[in-house]
């Protein structure tokens, strides 16, 4: 079983349990914040006068613990990070919004969730903060139209994470943040001792043990590492609904089958015929991206119109970009001369968490056989080796052969067995604080 559980990723009336699950999570959230004393605005404001650094301690302990557990679970293969919501980066609006929030924080004495903990325990200032919050949200909705275009693109970098930014593995960042947090806690206690005049003789010694345990766990995450591509490939599952005939009654019934990646290849469910790959360009519902994984020289000889050349050995570097490909209806079609390299590319992309990847059945050779038979400049080479171009070309014309972009009118009635099934990713607006 791989987490997160698909049944719980979005709330829906069809599955009322989801309301309960999110409600219980919210309950634990509110309970913990009240328990920490965040219902009292003085405790929150004290953070900004260096008298009591409870906010910093609670927040960074929470981040460090959650991060260590999350990346540990991902390393052990329990959790698939590709299905966890990561706030997309909108740098400009994020920083401006953050600066505005800081003003509200120091004046109002709360942040939105702590005001809930405060209001629910009878604090009038907490209730008024909540009320002011509704007015603020209303004002944002009313004024957003004046900067709608800016707001929707303000420094957009997609799903950008710190490990990508610094070019190091995620567990290294986890360990660095945990160590930085522990150092900050030490500094915070020094401030409390000198500015807040806090008596530390009664502080539990257990906190040092906790700090050691957290650091050890973060080192553990580093040791486990991220699951290798092979391990992730082994755990891939694909869902397909199939229509089967029942034994009795001759009734047709749709069943959902779950296949492993190797089964998908063996049953050839991820191979799109040239006809389907070609027609995908003219289908409104999907946006095909053709990834030509052959060498540059082969690509220069002959390639499909609008295809992108990414030789197999450079494909791995492209994965972060493919993962943040904005449109949810993007379908990637890998192609090589025959199928071998394209299959390797399919394995790499699928294992990396890229969705909707297909392989051009028979590769370029089958494509030419389908669309370029009449072209005298493309002469079949019967002795071509495995996954080599099976045609002799006089000139490297790239995509200027007629068959590189077949006429949609001429080939309007091509028949094919459809293989492409669009798996729509998690609704982009469904995650985060949206």
């Amino acid at each position: 079983m791989t987490f997160p559980l698909e049944a719980f990723t979005t709330v829906s009336a069809a599955n009322p349990w989801t309301y309960l699950v999110f409600g219980v999570i919210g309950f634990a959230f509110g309970y913990t914040l009240e328990m920490a004393g965040f219902g009292d605005s003085r405790k929150l404001a004290a953070q900004f006068y260096f008298k009591e650094l409870t906010v910093l301690k609670v927040m960074f302990t929470a981040i460090a613990v959650a991060m260590t557990l999350t990346f540990g679970a991902a390393g052990l293969g329990l959790l698939d990070l590709a299905n966890v919501w990561v706030n997309p980066t909108y740098l400009d609006s994020g920083v401006l919004g953050g600066l505005i929030m800081g003003v509200g924080f120091i004046i109002g004495g709360f942040c939105p969730t702590t005001s809930l903990a405060s209001a629910s325990t009878g604090r009038i200032d907490g209730m008024l903060f909540m009320l002011g919050g509704f007015v603020g949200a209303f004002l944002f909705g009313e004024t957003e139209r004046w900067f709608d275009a800016w707001y929707n693109n303000a420094g957009y970098y997609g799903r950008l994470t710190l490990d990508q930014l610094f070019g190091v593995p995620a567990p290294v960042v986890v360990l660095a943040i945990v160590l930085a947090a522990l150092f900050m806690f030490w500094g915070a206690e020094q401030l409390e001792r000198h500015i807040g005049r806090k008596d530390f003789s009664r502080e539990p010694g257990l906190r040092k043990l906790g700090a050691a345990a957290l650091a050890a766990a973060a080192v553990g995450v580093l040791v486990i590492g991220s699951p290798s591509l092979d391990e992730r490939y082994e755990r891939l599952t694909f869902k397909r609904s199939e229509t089967v005939q029942q034994a009795e009654g001759n009734k047709l019934q749709t069943v959902t089958r779950v296949y492993s990646a190797d089964e998908m290849l063996a049953k050839r469910l991820v191979f799109a015929s040239p006809a389907e790959a070609f027609k995908a360009r003219y289908q409104q519902a999907i946006k095909p991206v053709y990834l030509d994984v052959r060498s540059e020289s082969d690509y220069n000889l002959y390639h499909l119109a609008d295809s992108t050349n990414v030789p197999l050995n450079r494909l791995g570097k492209l994965v972060p970009d493919l993962l943040s490909e904005p449109a949810g209806n993007t379908v990637f079609i890998t192609l090589s001369n025959d199928e071998a390299a394209a299959v390797e590319a399919w394995k790499l992309l699928s294992a990396s968490g890229v969705q909707n990847v297909y392989i051009l059945e028979g590769g370029i050779n089958r494509w030419i056989a389908t669309f370029g038979r009449q072209d005298p400049r493309l002469k079949p080479l019967p002795n071509a080796g495995a996954d080599e171009l099976g045609y002799a070309l006089k000139a490297a014309l790239g995509d200027r052969y007629e068959s590189c972009s077949p006429s949609p009118i001429e080939y309007e009635h091509l028949e094919f067995e459809p293989r492409i099934v669009l798996q729509v990713k998690r609704d982009k607006s469904g995650g985060g604080c949206g």
Binding site: F3, P4, F22, G23, I25, G26, F27, A28, F29, G30, T32, L33, E34, M35, A36, G39, R42, F48, K57, M59, F60, T61, V65, A66, M67, L69, T70, A73, V86, N87, T89, V95, L96, G97, L99, I100, F105, G108, L116, A117, S118, S120, T121, I124, G126, G132, F134, V135, G136, L139, F140, G141, E144, R145, Y157, L162, G430, G431, G432, C433
Partner: protein, 179 residues
């Protein structure tokens, strides 16, 4: 009704140790990621409830407001989102902890040198400003700083630094409110 009065008159207990509370919060956040693939949040619910109210009062206005249209346009129900049950749960959870630890009391928490009335005004105004910024940043201290921070989202760390930077810079000038 005696049991009801008993809830509100329990002896007040101290707060949990910050590191302990933080560790529990971290486990809650991890479980949220593990089970649902979503983190924690609350400011999104505020704007969704706002959208629902506007949709009920002036549905035609929603169609002319791009921000509300995304949540409440057409037959969309703005309240049909995971963050709404989290919001309601957080209110109940805060109440439960307050009841358990004897902290249910109708009072105002404020600095020693201002009146209740000033504090009320400031908290209302602060809430207004905070939520305006939270919607601009697409999340607040929970949805961005806490959840995004734990997932190593680069933008969330920028938001977090911006919140603390501006609060610290302004703190000296509004010290009368708190000191």
């Amino acid at each position: 009704m005696r049991w009801l009065r008993a809830i509100f008159n329990r002896p007040e207990k101290g707060y949990a140790h910050p590191y302990l509370a933080g560790a529990v919060l971290g486990v809650v956040l991890f479980l949220a990621f593990l089970l649902t693939g979503n983190g924690l949040g609350s400011s999104g619910a505020t704007s969704r409830i706002n959208a629902a109210v506007v949709d009920a009062v002036a549905p035609a206005h929603v169609d002319q407001t791009p921000y509300l249209l995304k949540m409440a346009g057409g037959d969309k129900n703005p309240l049909d989102d995971w963050i709404v049950p989290v919001f309601i749960g957080a209110l109940l959870g805060g109440f439960a902890s307050g009841a358990r630890h004897g902290r249910l009391r109708l009072t105002t928490t404020r600095g020693p040198n201002i009146s209740d009335r000033t504090r009320w005004l400031m908290s209302f105004f602060g809430g207004m400003v905070f939520l305006y910024g939270a919607r601009m940043a697409r999340g607040c201290t929970s949805g961005q700083a806490l959840s995004g921070g734990a997932m190593l989202a680069a933008g969330s760390w920028a938001v977090m630094l911006a919140i603390f930077a501006s609060a610290y810079l302004l703190a000296y000038f509004v010290r009368k409110l708190w000191l």
